[in-house]
Symmetry: C2
Subunit: 132 residues, 2 copies
C-alpha cells in the first residue's frame, strides 16, 4: 500500500505525500499536472502549497514512483509508474490521453539505436491525433 512506497523511497510519511499519492492511485484520471493536483487537493480540503506538490512529485519521480511527461503545452504531466511501460496518444480534440504499448515499435527503437552505435536508455513517443 501507498505508505510503504513512500517509506521505501526514504521519505517520511507526511500528509501531503500520502494525499498526493492517493489521488494518483485512486482517481479515474491517470495524468495530472502539478496544478491539477493542487486544484483537486484544494477541493478536498488540504491547503498543500503548489511548491510542495512540485517537490513531492520530483521526489516521487526520483524514487521511481512517478513518471514525468513533457507533452506539448507547457505543463509537465505526471502519472503513477506501475511498471508497465507504455506510450501515449494525445487526443487533440478533447485533450484526452490514451495509453498504448507496442512491441514492434519497442523492438525497432532498440535496433535503430544499435544501428547508430548507441544503447537505448529511454524514449518518448507521443502520437498527436484526433478522433476519426
Amino acid at each position: 500500500m501507498n505508505k510503504n512506497d513512500i517509506k521505501e523511497a526514504g521519505l517520511k510519511i507526511t500528509q501531503p505525500r500520502v494525499q498526493i499519492l492517493k489521488i494518483l492511485e485512486t482517481s479515474k484520471e491517470k495524468h495530472f499536472s502539478a496544478e491539477d493536483l493542487y486544484q483537486l487537493l484544494r477541493e478536498e480540503d488540504s491547503k498543500i502549497g503548489l511548491a510542495t506538490i512540485y517537490r513531492v512529485l520530483t521526489q516521487f519521480e526520483t524514487a521511481g514512483l512517478v513518471i514525468r511527461h513533457n507533452f506539448e503545452g507547457g505543463q509537465a504531466v505526471f502519472e503513477l509508474d506501475k511498471g508497465e511501460h507504455h506510450d501515449h496518444i494525445v487526443d487533440m480534440k478533447n485533450g484526452k490521453i490514451i495509453e498504448f504499448h507496442d512491441e514492434i515499435i519497442e523492438q525497432r527503437q532498440i535496433e535503430i539505436a544499435k544501428e547508430h552505435g548507441y544503447k537505448l536508455l529511454d524514449h518518448s513517443l507521443i502520437l498527436y491525433a484526433e478522433p476519426e
Copy 2:
C-alpha cells in the same frame, strides 16, 4: 534561396530573418535553441534581440520553414524543415543529436492510432541513448 522562402511566408525580408535563416541553412549543426542563435548572431556581429529571435522562429514555424522540438531540458530546439520527416536520437553523453527515419515505426504509428479510433495528426519520437 532563403529570401524567397521568407517572402513566400508573407513576411518582409528583414535583416534578422535573413540572418537567422542563413544560420539554420549553413551551419554544420542543425539544431538550435533560441539562445544558441542569439549567441551565434552576437559573435558574428548583429545585435538582434532575443525577443526578435523568438518571434522570427515562431513565424518560421507557422510558415512551415522550421520545426520546433521539445527535448528534455527546458529550451525548445529548432531546425530547418527540409520536408524529409525524421525523428531523433539524443546522445545523453555528448548532447549530440542524430536524425533517423524508420518506415516500420512510421507505419505502426498510423495503425496504432487507427486501432484506437484515431487519425494520426503528428507525432514525436525521441530516443535517449548513450554510445555503446
